[in-house]
Symmetry: none
Subunit: 202 residues, 4 copies
DNA sequence: AATGAATGAGTCTTCATTCAT
DNA sequence: GATGAATGAAGACTCATTCAT
């Protein structure tokens, strides 16, 4: 990879990072392409060399983050541990990710309803798909735990959803408290409630 | 109250309902005042007789719904039941409300990050306050349950947040499944996981 | 004239006075019919019972003032005095009028260029005509003074214009000084300069 | 200066000239940004690249003209002539300027009362200041003439105001006659009346 | 490849005027 | 006659996107 190519890749990254930051802080509509160009220290026209349009940039930014999260989770799930422990590990990774990417998280939860219907049809799928991949991983972990008799035989998909909801809600609370303390500290609380709530009673 | 007065009140309601519907479906920015006027079957200028501007209308719509929910919850909490039963009742009401107002629910979760900072400062408080009132009610129920030894002595506010998160996540899931089945059916699942997860072990 | 008729006339006057006040203070466009209705303590629709539209009201207000001025001047001109003295008297009346109606004066000088061309054609004439009547009276006084050899044989119309200009400019200056002192005091200055400047040298 | 820069400067000028013309012809409110864009043969959005908003454009247009006039006057005042001659020169320049910029002149006299109070506070000062600079120059010339005993010891500022008023009124008259003849021809009339009216009698 | 000036469709908001009561 | 709610045309301003340099 020569200098020029590096520079090119850099520009795409620069832009995506600027976009991530601003979309996260202000949401989709209030963020202008001018803002992003200024933040990226590039000309406005340059953005269009790397991204089709504003929506494309928006979804690219989110996808990028979600891919990073998915990659980390997939790594964790491979560990040779019991389902319970792997679930706990996953929650930990999830909370740590949200803590590190609090802004991005704010978009992720809100975006699906943000865009005009025409855009939705074209683009929402790109993110939805990743979100459901994520749920699927948790789902499979829970299915395994159910098979092993560690968890009661409930709807595993719904349990996965509930687990995500617990993590999610604690994050929102943490953000609303202006992010005092560490989000990761809530890992055991999330885990405890979910596990006690879901596990098979003796 | 004469005919004219009735008509007036009706118009404010017509507009708010149109706004609720469209803001819920499309979010704040993609919804235009023209859209709302058309939906309400009134002229655009008429909206401005009843609401200061788009933001005011947006928040009025949300407030209205949240007030209705709060009123229902406050009624339920008065019942002469055990904390556990009242918490269960509350979840039921919450899910039923979300089921009946699925659209509005979509805005409620996303709005905080939707608006330009200047607007936020002025107006977000109006909704935030109602949201926290809601959490406070649940919080107090849980505190009571902790005092009575029914729930482990954890951070009651966080438990309230988790309970809401569970209800919330099941709603999102239900919506994502295109709303097949009844959301209320998930009441016992939400309740079971939360209560088993939080209650004092013998 | 019965009670009802008195009341009606009162309403037209109320409205015109409110209009005079507000048009004078803010100019034509920034003054709204709502403002005028509020100031007149009548309903907006009532204005349209007495005036065709906003322009009509505007010109009616100005005409009314100009008619009052013209009446006073015509009275003065009848006095059995020398042209010089009658001109001096006229300047005095003019300055006193402007002092009493400083706001109205502000509109009078600016209005001709204020309105869309379509309106201009229809309505400007109404005021222009009165303005030129006013100049005509001064013109005739000066012609008389020229005939009597008191004033040099210059273009009498231009001299009339210059005289008005002197009075006008001193008024603007007086207003710009936030109306300290009495405008009438400038009567002798205006008179002196004009008369010394115009009269026949011995 | 490359082609692009030339083009840019041109555009700002094109816009200002279009604005000057239209504001002058129709006044502030009846002139729309669309009109100006059409007149300037540029897109509406382009105006906002060079001017903050309509008010800014309005005042920029006036300021520009007044600056040109001030520059010409300042040059004339430097001439090694008697005060009387320099005053005469100044009137000549003033009338010539008004003749060349008859439209702009129309705005200048009317603008102060044209704008909503909020705008006035922010922006009127920009023009008022230039107007008073102009009066100050004439004022100083007259003071000098008084010191030299050429003019009677009257209030020099008021004399300056009167002189401007004479020039001004002749311009209005010339415009009202649909601009027949040359305004500059009135130079000697204006001068004669003012000077005879103001000078020290032997 | 990079730039940023230019574009103009799209939006909120105002306000003169009408008309049912 | 009096009212004031309703109307909708009109206008300032924004901003994603294009394209000549």
């Amino acid at each position: 990879m020569n200098k020029r190519q590096i520079k090119q890749r850099d520009h795409a990254i620069q832009i995506r990072e600027a976009a991530e930051k601003l979309f996260a802080k202000r949401g989709f509509y209030p963020t202008t392409m001018d803002d992003i160009a200024r933040e990226a220290k590039l000309a406005k026209g340059t953005i269009y060399l790397y991204f089709d349009n504003k929506e494309d940039l928006f979804f690219s930014a989110i996808e990028n983050k979600l891919d990073a999260l998915l990659a980390r989770i997939r790594e964790a799930v491979k560990e040779p541990l019991s389902p319970a422990q792997r679930i706990k590990l996953t929650i930990g990774i999830h909370l740590k990710f949200l803590e590190e990417n609090r802004d991005c998280f704010k978009i992720m939860q809100s975006f699906p309803e943000q865009l005009k219907e025409k855009l939705e049809r074209k683009l929402k799928g790109r993110v939805i798909e990743r979100q459901s991949q994520y749920i699927k991983i948790i789902d499979r972990l829970i299915q395994e735990a159910i098979r092993k008799g560690e968890v009661r035989p409930l709807d595993s998909r719904k349990l996965a959803v509930v687990l995500m909801g617990i993590a999610h809600s604690l994050t929102v609370y943490w953000i609303s408290k202006k992010e005092k303390g560490s989000l990761s500290e809530d890992e055991s609380l999330a885990w405890e409630i979910f596990w006690e709530g879901a596990r098979r009673k003796v």
